[in-house]
Symmetry: C2
Subunit: 478 residues, 2 copies
């Protein structure tokens, strides 16, 4: 790898910090010769793997994983009118096989409704087949014309998790929407990422949905990042793709559907929210390497220390931890810097004096250190990992709280957003007033029906028209 | 799913059996509306997952997993002349983003040399960076114009495992080729799939390689299926992509490379070789469901039996087995048929009499049954799984042996191949004689330097010209 000169910019210069950290910490290489496409380094890939394994574990409770083709024939892709409108400008088209023009153009999936639902039409026959809860984790493509950013706005989303469910009734689909939100909140809580859940305004819902519930988080520069969406599709797609079932009375009915997705923006949020001026800070649950052992060897005791460090590595590995033993010929200080940059939650320093005392010095990436008995090291480290996780979560929550601001009038809204905050305002939910808010602030109405421990439910009057309003999130979104 | 009338064709009608079994056993749905693209059912997807997890586990010993983009810009793709020749007729091209023609056409990777090596050129600087051993498991694309077959010849290979290594010397790369072959043989041995390893003739090597070692297996109809390839790339690609390193003496040198791949043909072989007239037979190591519990409930004892079956399921699941408890309202015989079709290695029948005796009846998918003590059920099942695996492996090996035939003259070769066999002949390794063999038999020279327990090394005289020859595999290949 390329360890050129220079140091990581300060996190307050967020955009520079983020771009620089991605390659310095070996998450992604941005030098691939196509705009908006990136290469995962092994270290970053492993992080991605552990994050997605958590998502799989949650989904596997009552979903089944499956896999549909990437290529969608034009006639299927073009069936649902609203859906086309939403995606037609950003779809990549395959037009040639070898030097031969294809009879039917093939779209690279931007999302898979139009690949999956023709098959659902074949699979769903009777109420006994329902519900269906399938998901897949796949690469999807968007021809982004705006500025691209690694993990945030890219042309190949390498790990889009999309679930597609089918139900007998609208209410059952609605309940699935609620279940998906609970699942996403549990997922993000496991990553210590605070979430703001809200219902997107009608003009910002998924093309072809009855309604969309979104999960946002607040990035270090105060911008919001959409890190998950859940859509109630009603029967829009089932009417288009003819997904019908015979109910208990022998009648044919259109099925009700939902879909919900999470992209690698989950990794972007993880990196951005927890990291600091020194580098990444990874929660132990998903860290590529959870603990690094740095032997402090001096003269004659060298072999003793190395042997003890190797034993420690073996013990911890056997206990299920992901551990690295750093025996490179470098100064300890340079090793500390190396692993702090890469966000390893715990450093274990083992020197002759520690060894004599039957201890190891545990230094937390979040700050602070303590001596742990080697005889009870597994329990000790489990305990320290919990402390680290708590600290990471508490800091992220504190930051989210400090970024949220309740604003009572349209006049103050712009100034509040300019300070890197997300505003909670009262809004009547009429389009005109929504447009007024968005135009005046160069921001977006994220949503109403806000579910967040940080935003108490409250009724008030619309900041534009003064009619009865509801708590609404307004922010500058990525 | 669609359980229409009809039964599985006999396996001797292999092609019909294979196509039918794929959907009946819920591996893949072939009805996706683009030729050569298929949908993985959850049951098939889980099988794929367990098979690929084994491959990952083997590679992770000393490789690192990574991920490169799907889309390759035309100018990179076109850099290596031989490589282009090998792939230009079967590459899919993306030419449009939305309605806008792209400035640079983008190839869907048929394989990733031209995506990865420009990055290797940036990453490799010094001998200290070597070796690099990275792999990725990705979807790749081939515009196949021949008849497509699920898992065998398809347009989207959904799980191509490709490793790409970089070394300082030709000899180190050669040693990596040997290591990759050992690894592949271990992988296939774990799947009970017999392998024939040989060196492909020069005219059939990978476009841009010094030489290619291939892994083939014999399918039930006697055709050979290439299920893995390992290529020594020499410095062909490093010269094209300028992958150089500074050696210990400070000189710039071109790196030496290898690459090796396995596709979902590994699943095709697994299904085809082990299955029988009743359906799939899956080795316990990779079976989606390893054991199914079928409670035999009669009258008053219904609740007792169900409770015991649930406890059995919990015990086995906690012990790490993948177990299904089938409580559907169906006759036991119909359940037996259902799970046999799907290849579950072991059926556990639990009725009132078994319960009274503290036993469960274990019925092996490979034939035979035995009573197992419930008190020692975990150990008992582990033991039965080993028996099943041994039986599956022994049958596959027996079949491979019976399909191999040593042929001493060109006259008999065609007749031998016509009986569904693979021939071992002596060949002088000259192109002219190779052409004569291939033309006369409508078959392929698979390779020389055969490594197989079934093919003893032997020198003889070429079946065409009578000059000194070496043992050579000749077969009709997929």
């Amino acid at each position: 790898m390329d360890d050129d000169a220079g140091t990581l910019p300060l996190k307050e210069d967020f955009s520079a910090w983020y771009n620089d950290l991605l390659w310095r910490a070996e998450i992604m290489d941005v030098r691939y010769p196509v705009k908006g496409l990136y290469v995962w380094f092994p270290y970053g890939f492993a992080l991605r793997k552990y994050v997605y394994q958590r998502l799989r574990d949650l989904l596997d409770r009552d979903h089944q994983e499956t896999l549909f083709p990437l290529l969608i024939p034009e006639q299927e892709f073009m069936k649902e009118a609203e859906h086309i409108k939403g995606f037609e400008e950003e779809v990549y088209w395959v037009t040639h096989g070898g030097t031969t023009p294809l009879d039917v153009k093939l779209a690279l999936r931007p999302t898979s409704e139009t690949a999956i639902y023709p098959m659902y039409a074949l699979w769903v026959r009777s109420h006994a087949d329902l519900p269906i809860k399938y998901y897949q984790i796949v690469n999807t493509f968007r021809y982004e014309t705006k500025q691209t950013r690694p993990l945030i706005r890219l042309r190949e989303i390498t790990s889009f998790k999309e679930a597609h469910t089918v139900h007998a009734t609208w209410e059952e689909a609605e309940e699935q929407v609620e279940e998906a939100i609970r699942l996403y909140c549990e997922f993000y809580d496991g990553l210590c990422i605070p979430t703001l859940v809200s219902k997107r305004p009608d003009w910002d819902k998924f093309p072809g949905a009855d309604y969309t519930i979104a999960v946002d988080t607040i990035m270090p520069n105060g911008k919001t990042l959409q890190i998950g969406t859940v859509h109630h599709l009603g029967d829009h797609f089932s009417r288009t793709f003819n997904i019908t079932y015979e109910d208990k009375n022998g009648e044919q009915k259109f099925a009700q559907q939902t879909c919900y997705g999470i992209s690698e923006r989950s990794i972007a949020a993880l990196i951005s929210i927890h990291g600091d001026d020194v580098g990444l800070i990874l929660p132990p649950a998903v860290a590529t390497i959870q603990a690094v052992i740095v032997p402090i060897t001096i003269g004659k005791r060298h072999d003793d220390v190395i042997a003890a460090a190797q034993k420690l590595k073996t013990d911890l590995t056997n206990a299920g931890f992901r551990v690295n033993l750093d025996t490179r010929d470098m100064r300890p200080g340079a090793k500390y810097y190396w692993w702090e940059l890469r966000g390893v939650p715990l450093r274990l320093e083992l020197g002759p004096r520690d060894l004599d005392a039957g201890k190891v010095m545990a230094v937390k990436r979040t700050g602070g250190k303590m001596s742990i008995d080697l005889a009870r090291v597994t329990a000790g480290i489990t305990c320290v990992f919990n402390e680290i996780t708590d600290t990471i979560r508490a800091r992220a929550e504190e930051n989210t709280k400090s970024r949220l601001c309740f604003v009572g009038s349209l006049d103050n809204l712009n100034a509040t957003l300019d300070t890197g905050r997300v505003a909670v305002v009262q809004w009547c939910q009429q389009r005109e007033c929504g447009d007024a808010i968005e135009t005046q602030t160069n921001a977006s109405i994220l949503g109403t029906e806000v579910r967040s421990q940080y935003v108490p439910a409250a009724d008030g009057t619309c900041v534009v028209c003064g009619k009865p309003g509801k708590s609404t999130l307004v922010g500058r979104a990525y």
